[in-house]
């Protein structure tokens, strides 16, 4: 008996096909954004808010002061957490041991205009940063709205945003949620108490499900590292136990504002190129190349078009797919100047040492800022700093602090170019121990910062820098430069220690030679002491010769 399998028709399939909103997609793929587990969710939420605050403050020329507070919510309402699990159709309780926490981040920044608040917090992929090439902490504009989404999914609570653009203007407060199906904000005004004093800046309050843990890859470590890379900022952190940690400001210098640049042709992929042509205001391909890219002169534009076999008068919006292909090839065949690098704002050698000094007690600090260079058309710049000795643990592997555009990277160390460069550097040349294939062992903190208009992360969660050869090479050069200086210091230290040890060793045993000679030769105490003094002089002399 043959059983006839019933296949679906296109019409039947169409009935089940529907548009998936970005918000829905991320609800199911929250790990892509750094919300894979309760502990990490807390960190990601804080990180997105703090990164935004720092960027906003700097852009407005304000020395940042940021208050982070995590408070446990006493009563846990069972029903609401199911939103997330229901969405997955899974009854398994994936978030075992999670608490309900209120995360609050307040800055002294420029504030946000009333009309923008709902969009910024209630719409994914909305922001100012994706559409420009400028060095900034956030890149995609997913961050804070993803945190709001996470809050909504786990606790059913909407984000509360309070903002005041200046002391003179009126403060606003919104409760913002996200309509998952439409990727659209659902916002409503919330009341501000009559007597409540609202300072200038923005305050974000999110109620989320998560677990706060101390140390390691957690909020306290993130703030400490952020303080290292941002010595001009002040952080106050109140943890769920009520303990307050303050990271004081070490520098009153704001980082130089980073300039916005147009993309360099080498850094643009085919798909992006096609999108750019669709969106451009130019009416000719040549004009498009000259105005939408950096380093493309009229002459270079002609050269690209000649390689591509496209005439310059074509309207960019009429360029067909295969022509775009040729244009892309044409770009690769044309020799272009490297992109301008004045768009980068490194932390600076002095500031890096200041930041490190205030967060880590050591005896020796050094730092270096490499000259800017380029990977795939994207300008970048590497900085490194080392702290050595003092109260740092002497028998453990060095602590590696990774930063990208001043943001600490806490997860996925193994996949990161910075970790690879640390391991591939031979620290033994600098008088440090290093087991094969491992970071060095000793009282050492290693800081590496990559500044770029476009940091190549290995994933959307921005946790690890991709290992481009140019990047690896620059990191290693920076580490070597700092390593050499530490090596000299270690050597000097070691010699002094050796000297002191030898001296005390000799001084320990010389008296016994005196005692023995006194016993055998019946010397007087004075003769004995003179013999010891003489011996000390003799040993000092021979040691100097050696």
């Amino acid at each position: 008996m043959i059983r006839k399998t019933k296949y679906a028709t296109a019409e039947e399939m169409a009935a089940t096909q529907r548009e998936i909103s970005v918000a829905e997609f991320f609800a199911k793929n929250r790990h892509l954004l750094g919300f894979d587990n309760p502990a990490k969710a807390v960190l990601t939420t804080v990180r997105e808010a703090v990164d935004n605050s720092l960027d906003a403050c700097e852009e407005a020329g304000i020395l940042p002061e940021i208050h982070v507070e995590i408070t446990p919510v006493a009563a846990k309402k069972e029903g609401q957490q199911l939103l997330l699990e229901g969405g997955n159709g899974s009854k398994k309780k994936g978030f075992g041991g999670a608490d309900r926490l209120i995360v609050s981040v307040q800055d002294n920044g420029p504030g946000i205009v009333k009309e923008q608040i709902p969009k910024i917090f209630g719409k994914l992929l909305y922001g100012s940063k994706f559409h420009r090439l400028r060095m900034s902490r956030g890149q995609q504009g997913i961050g804070i709205s993803a945190a709001a989404l996470y809050s909504q999914l786990t606790t059913g609570q909407q984000a509360t945003i309070t903002s005041r653009t200046s002391g003179r203007s009126k403060p606003h407060r919104f409760r913002v949620g996200i309509d998952l199906a439409r990727n659209a904000p659902e916002a409503r005004d919330a009341e501000i108490g009559e007597k409540e004093e609202v300072p200038q800046g923005t305050k974000v309050v999110l109620e989320i499900e998560g677990r706060y843990q101390k140390h390691g890859k957690s909020v306290d470590e993130y703030l400490k590292e952020t303080a290292v890379a941002n010595p001009h900022a002040r952080f106050v952190f109140k943890d769920p136990d009520g303990a307050t940690t303050v990271h004081e400001r070490a520098s009153k210098e704001l980082p130089a504002p980073a300039k916005e640049i147009k993309p360099h042709p080498y850094g643009v992929e085919l798909g992006v190129l096609i999108n750019m042509m669709r969106d451009t205001g130019s009416r000719t391909v040549k004009g498009f190349l000259q105005t939408d890219f950096s380093r493309v002169s009229s002459q270079k534009a002609n050269e690209i078009l000649k390689h591509a076999g496209i005439s310059e008068g074509y309207h960019p919006k009429t360029i067909a797919r295969d022509q775009a292909d040729r244009l892309y090839e044409g770009i690769q065949q044309t020799k272009l100047m490297a992109p301008p690098t004045d768009c980068l704002a490194p932390i600076g050698e002095k500031q890096l040492v200041e930041g490190l000094r205030k967060e880590f007690e050591a005896e020796f600090y050094t730092s270096t800022t490499r000259p800017p260079t380029v990977y795939r058309g994207n300008p970048f710049q590497i900085e490194a700093a080392l702290a050595y000795g003092g109260k740092l643990p002497a028998e453990e592997p060095a602590q590696v602090l990774r930063f990208a555009n001043r943001v600490p990277l806490l997860y996925q160390a193994g996949a990161c170019a910075i970790s690879k460069a640390v391991v591939q550097t031979s620290w033994r040349n600098y008088n440090l121990q290093q087991p094969k294939g491992s970071p060095p062992i000793g009282p050492l903190v290693i800081v590496v910062h990559m500044a770029s208009v476009w940091v190549p992360f290995t994933s959307e969660a921005k946790e690890a820098v991709a290992s481009y050869d140019e990047i690896l090479k620059e990191i290693k050069l920076a580490l070597q430069e700092c390593g050499r200086r530490v090596g000299i210091h270690v050597n000097k230290n070691r010699r002094a220690l050796d000297e002191a040890r030898k001296r005390s060793h000799i001084e320990m045993y010389l008296p016994h030679i005196g005692i023995a000679l006194q016993q055998i030769l019946k010397l007087s105490d004075a003769e004995r002491d003179r013999t010891c003094t003489d011996l000390k002089a003799i040993l000092e002399k021979t040691r100097k010769v050696n």
């Binding site: 030898k502 060793h505 000799i506 320990m508 045993y509 010389l510 016994h512 030679i513 005692i515 023995a516 000679l517 016993q519 055998i520 030769l521 010397l523 013999t531 003489d534 011996l535 002089a537 003799i538 040993l539 021979t542 040691r543």
Partner: protein
């Protein structure tokens, strides 16, 4: 007779006093040299004979292992300052012991150092090594460790027979005569240090016996009386005290020396370890061999040929792998055996026979066969003994 005895007494005591004085002088000399160098702002130095096997030679004329001429200079530096101090402190201890007429064993000396604060020894192996240094240092001045008053932990073997040992009361110095015929079924026990002992004997030879079993049998039946000899029990490889005792006893009257006959099992261990050490000393203590060996000793038996002559083949044991290895090693590496063709022949004979025999194997014929037949027969011709 009485007068002669009295004179001897005084010379003993005087002799010992004189010797002690010399030892103290040597210690003072070495220390004084160091003190003098320091006074002149020079680097003080101690010279030790190198104590390695490469610095050992077999002195054929003297008949014992002798240390070579290689020296190790220990100049006072950062690295040596601790041992240097410890060496000097041991020298000071030694001088004090001589002055107080006392002694210290290695263990005693180790515990003494616990009073030295940071210069103390943590382990006895460390203090033993420094003591060996001191011993080697003074061996170049013909001063033995016992004379430095560092005594070995273990006493010597048993002695029985026609011998009077003249010792002194350690406290009063009064002479004590010990008659080694008067211990009944027991025996006199050789003390750790024998340097001060004197002897009186009419015996014709000394019989050095490996095992307690044969010693007991010969003593029990007063074989020493019958054969006019002195019995010394070696019990395995003889201790320093036993070797020194036999040496001094043999030479106490000057030449001709009292003959020393070794009587051991017939196996490579007895040849290459027991007899070889008795006669020429041990390789790793060559710096002291000249005190602690009996070059005049000869080997009475049991030889491989004796097994055949006395029809003992059915009372033998097969040679073990270790025996064969030891025998081959002696032939190949031991300077003593390399110098002695007769021994080479004997060892090769044993290897070809593939068996070993014990001293007590003679009991196969009769319990007393060993003293009634074997020993008298052998002693008829001492010239035939192995060198």
């Amino acid at each position: 007779m009485a007068a002669k005895k009295k004179q001897e007494k005084t010379t003993t005591r005087k002799g010992k006093k004189l010797r002690d004085g010399l030892v103290m002088d040597q210690i003072t000399d070495v220390a004084g040299g160091i003190h003098g160098t320091i006074g002149k702002r020079g680097s003080p130095r101690l010279d030790f004979p190198a104590r390695s096997l490469s610095n050992v030679v077999y002195d054929e004329k003297q008949g014992y292992f002798e240390i070579g001429k290689q020296k190790i200079e220990r100049t006072l530096t950062y690295n040596t300052v601790k041992t240097f101090a410890q060496t000097l402190r041991f020298m000071a201890l030694s001088k004090e012991l001589v002055e107080r007429n006392d002694f210290a064993t290695k263990r005693d000396a180790y515990y003494q150092s616990k009073n030295w604060g940071e210069a103390r020894f943590d382990e006895q192996t460390e203090s033993d090594a420094v003591m060996d240094d001191v011993e080697a240092l003074f061996s170049t001045y013909n001063v033995s460790r016992e004379e430095l008053r560092f005594y070995p932990e273990e006493h010597g073997g048993a002695v029985a027979g026609e011998l009077v040992v003249i010792d002194a009361d350690p406290e009063t110095g009064t002479e004590i005569e010990i008659d080694c015929t008067k211990f009944g079924s027991g025996a006199y026990s050789i003390p750790s240090s024998v340097e001060h002992l004197r002897f009186r004997t009419d015996a014709k030879f000394i019989l050095a016996i490996e095992t307690g079993g044969v010693f007991q049998r010969l003593n029990y039946h007063k074989y020493w009386n019958k054969a006019k000899c002195i019995l010394v029990e070696l019990s395995g490889v003889p201790t320093r005290a036993t070797r020194r005792f036999i040496r001094r006893l043999s030479e106490h009257r000057g030449k001709p020396f009292l003959p020393v006959y070794a009587f051991t099992d017939c196996d490579p261990y007895a040849f290459a370890n027991i007899y070889r050490t008795l006669k020429v000393g041990s390789g790793n203590a060559a710096h002291i061999s000249r005190f602690f060996c009996v070059p005049q000793a000869t080997f009475l038996g049991v030889t491989p040929q004796d097994i055949i002559d006395h029809k003992l083949m059915d009372a033998t044991h097969k040679l073990q792998d270790v025996d064969i290895k030891r025998a081959k090693d002696a032939l190949k590496n031991d300077p003593f055996f390399q110098m002695q063709p007769k021994w080479q022949k004997a060892v090769k004979q044993q290897l070809s026979m593939g068996v070993r025999a014990e001293q007590q194997a003679f009991a196969k014929w009769d319990l007393n066969y060993v003293m009634d037949k074997y020993l008298p027969q052998k002693l008829k011709n001492p010239k035939s003994f192995l060198p």
